[in-house]
C-alpha cells in the first residue's frame, strides 16, 4: 500500500484551499502509518471541528468526526473500550487549545495511548480567520484587528508539563522530520503529541505579511531553531528571539500509560 491507498478516492477533491498546509501534514501522517504497518481495520482516525478535523473524512479507515474540542474525549472512549485499535487524532489549535483545552491536559495526564497530530495554523481558518490561543502577540485576525494582545499558548510545553509520553514540534516545511516524529509517536506507548505549524494562506498569511504561500513556508524554515541548539544557547546565556519556533523532540519518556494494547 502507499499513502494514496489510505484515502477515500470517492471523497476527493478535498475542501482545503490551494496552498493550505494541512495536506502536507496529512501525507506525513499517512506515510508514518504506512511505515509502521498498521492495518486499515485496526486503525481509527478521530477529529473535532475545524479545517484540520476534516482530515479523517478523507481517510478510508473507520473515522469519527466529532464535536468542537471534544475529539480527545471521544478517542479516550474508543481506546479504552477496544485497546486493540490504533488511534490517531487530528486536531487544530482552536479545537485543541481553546474549547478542548481541558480534555487536552487530562488526556496528557492520563497518558492515554493515542497519537495526536495538531495542525497549528494560528487561526480559526474554517470560520474565516478569527484569533486563536496560538495567534502570536500582535498577529492580525478578524477578531484581533489591532493585533492580538494575548500571549500565545506553547502547546508542546503544555503537553510536556501535563504528562504526555512523547512531545515534538515541526512545521509543514519539515516534511521528513515531521514524518519521523509522527512515526515515533505512533511507536511510543502512551500519549504522543506532535504539533505541526501549518500555513493558512487564506486566513492567516495574507493578513500577516505572507503575501505568497511560499513566504510563510520560507518563514518556518528561517525561523526554526532546534531544541538542542536552543538548550546550548541558554547554557551560554544567549537570548533566543521570541519569534523563533522551537522545533524537535521535547520529551520521550515512559510514564505509566492508559489504554495500551495488552
Amino acid at each position: 500500500m502507499s499513502e494514496e491507498d489510505w484515502l477515500r478516492q470517492d471523497r476527493l477533491p478535498h475542501i482545503f484551499c490551494a496552498g493550505c498546509g494541512n495536506g502536507t501534514v496529512i501525507n506525513c501522517t499517512l506515510s508514518a502509518v504506512e511505515q509502521i504497518g498498521w492495518k486499515r481495520q485496526e486503525t481509527v482516525f478521530v477529529s473535532g471541528i475545524g479545517c484540520s478535523s476534516r482530515a479523517p473524512g478523507y481517510i478510508s479507515t473507520d473515522s469519527l468526526h466529532t464535536t468542537h474540542g471534544r475529539a480527545l474525549a471521544f478517542a479516550t472512549g474508543i481506546k479504552l473500550a477496544n485497546p486493540q485499535l490504533n488511534i490517531v487524532v487530528f486536531t487544530g489549535d482552536g479545537d485543541l487549545a481553546a474549547i478542548g483545552g481541558n480534555h487536552f491536559i487530562h488526556a496528557c495526564r492520563r497518558n492515554i495511548d493515542l497519537t495526536v497530530v495538531c495542525l497549528n495554523n494560528m487561526i480559526y481558518g474554517m470560520t474565516g480567520g478569527q484569533g486563536s490561543p496560538t495567534t502570536p502577540m500582535g498577529g492580525l485576525s478578524t477578531t484581533t484587528p489591532y493585533g492580538s494582545g494575548e500571549p500565545a499558548f506553547d502547546l508542546c510545553g503544555l503537553a510536556t508539563a501535563a504528562g504526555a509520553n512523547y512531545v515534538a514540534r515541526w512545521t509543514s516545511y519539515h516534511v521528513r522530520e515531521l514524518t519521523r516524529a509522527i512515526l515515533t509517536g505512533l511507536e511510543n506507548p502512551g500519549f504522543s503529541f506532535i504539533e505541526s505549524l501549518v500555513q493558512c494562506p487564506t486566513n492567516y498569511g495574507r493578513r500577516n505579511r505572507f503575501k505568497q504561500v511560499a513566504d510563510q513556508i520560507e518563514y518556518f524554515k528561517s525561523h526554526t531553531i532546534l531544541v538542542e541548539k536552543a538548550a546550548r544557547m541558554r547554557e551560554k546565556g544567549e537570548m533566543i528571539p521570541p519569534e523563533m519556533i522551537l522545533a524537535g523532540e521535547f520529551v520521550r519518556r515512559n510514564r505509566p500509560a492508559l489504554g495500551v494494547r495488552p
Binding site: D62, S63, H65, R70, G77, N82, Q84, H106
Partner: protein
Amino acid sequence: MTRTEFMQGNTACAEGALAAGCRFFGGYPITPSTEIAEHMALRLPKMGGVFIQMEDEIASIAAVIGASWTGAMAMTATSGPGFSLMMENIGYAVMTETPCVIVNVQRGGPSTGQPTLSAQGDMLQCRFGSHGDYSVIALSPASVQEMFDLTVEAFNLAERFRSPVFLMADEIIGHMRERVIIPDHVPSNQRKPYEPGSLPFRAGEDLVPGFPAFGKGYGVHVTGLTHDERGYPCATSPKLHEDLVKRLVGKVEGARGSITSCDILNPDAEVVFVSYGAPSRTVQQVLHDHPDDNIGHLRLKMVWPFAEMVLARFTNAEAFIVPEQNLGQIAREIERHTDKDVVTVPKLGGDLHTPGELYAIVENLK
C-alpha cells in the same frame, strides 16, 4: 438465581445496566447521581468492563459515544448541571445514531439549585435541550425496582433504535432504598448488525440502519455534519438534510404507539391522575386510600416519545390532574393532546406532593 435485595435506587440502576450488558461507564461525580458511578467503578472492572471518571460531563458523554462505536453497550449518569453540559454531544449521538444510555437523577434547578433534593425540572430539556429538531426516548422510574427494570429497558431501546435513551429519575427514587427483585436473566436487544457492502446509513422500513462497529474493516465515516447514506458530509443539500432529520425523528415517533409503556388504572374514571417518577407514589397512595372514589391513574413509565393515544383510553375522563416536581412540563404536553381540563399540580423545593394535597384536588373537582 433471582434474588431479593434491599437496595438504593442508584445502585439498582447500576445493577440493571450491568445485567443488560453495559460494559462501559464514563462519568463525572455529581449529586444525587454519584452512587451510580461509584457502583460501576466497583463492579465493572471485575466483569471485564471499563469505568472511567472523565474530566467533566462533556467528556463523559463523548467517551460513552466513542465506546459505543466499538460495539460496547455504554452509559453515563449525571444530574442537572452535568446534563446541561452534555446537551451538544447528545445531539451528536442523535445525529450519528449512536446507542447509549444517559441517566439523569434530577435535582432542583436552575443552576446549582438544590443538589440534594428532588425535582423533575429537566423533562423538557431532555426532549428539546440539544439544538435542532430531533426526538428521544425517555423512561421515568417510580420505584427502586424500576430503577433496575427501566435501566434494562433503556439499553434495549437504545440498541434497537440506535438512539440515546434517557432514564429520567429523580433524587427521591435514586436515593431511597427498598425491596428489589434482581432476576437471573433480563431480556436483551442487540443492535442490528451492519450488512457488509451496504451503505452504512441507509435504513430499511424500520428507519434504523444496521450498526457498522469500528474495528471490523468497514471503514465507516461518522460525522455530526448532515451526511448522506454513505456517511459522507453533505451539509448544503436542503433535501438531504430534511430527509435525514425526518428519518431520525420518524424512527422514534413512528414507534411511539408500540413501544410506549404505562400503567392504566380505573380507565372509566372521570378524574384521572397522570404521573411519572416519584409523584406516582403519592397518586398510588391516594387511589389506595380512596378505593370508592373511582379515580383514574395513567402512570407513564415512558414519557418520551409522548404517546398521546393512551389518553383516549380514559373514555369518561373529564379532567387530567398532573402532579409534577416542576411547574408543569408534561402537563403542557397533555394539554396539547386533549380538550379535557388539565390541572397542573406543580411542586418545587424538593418535597413530594402529599396524599392529602392531591386528594383535595379530586374533591374540589367533584
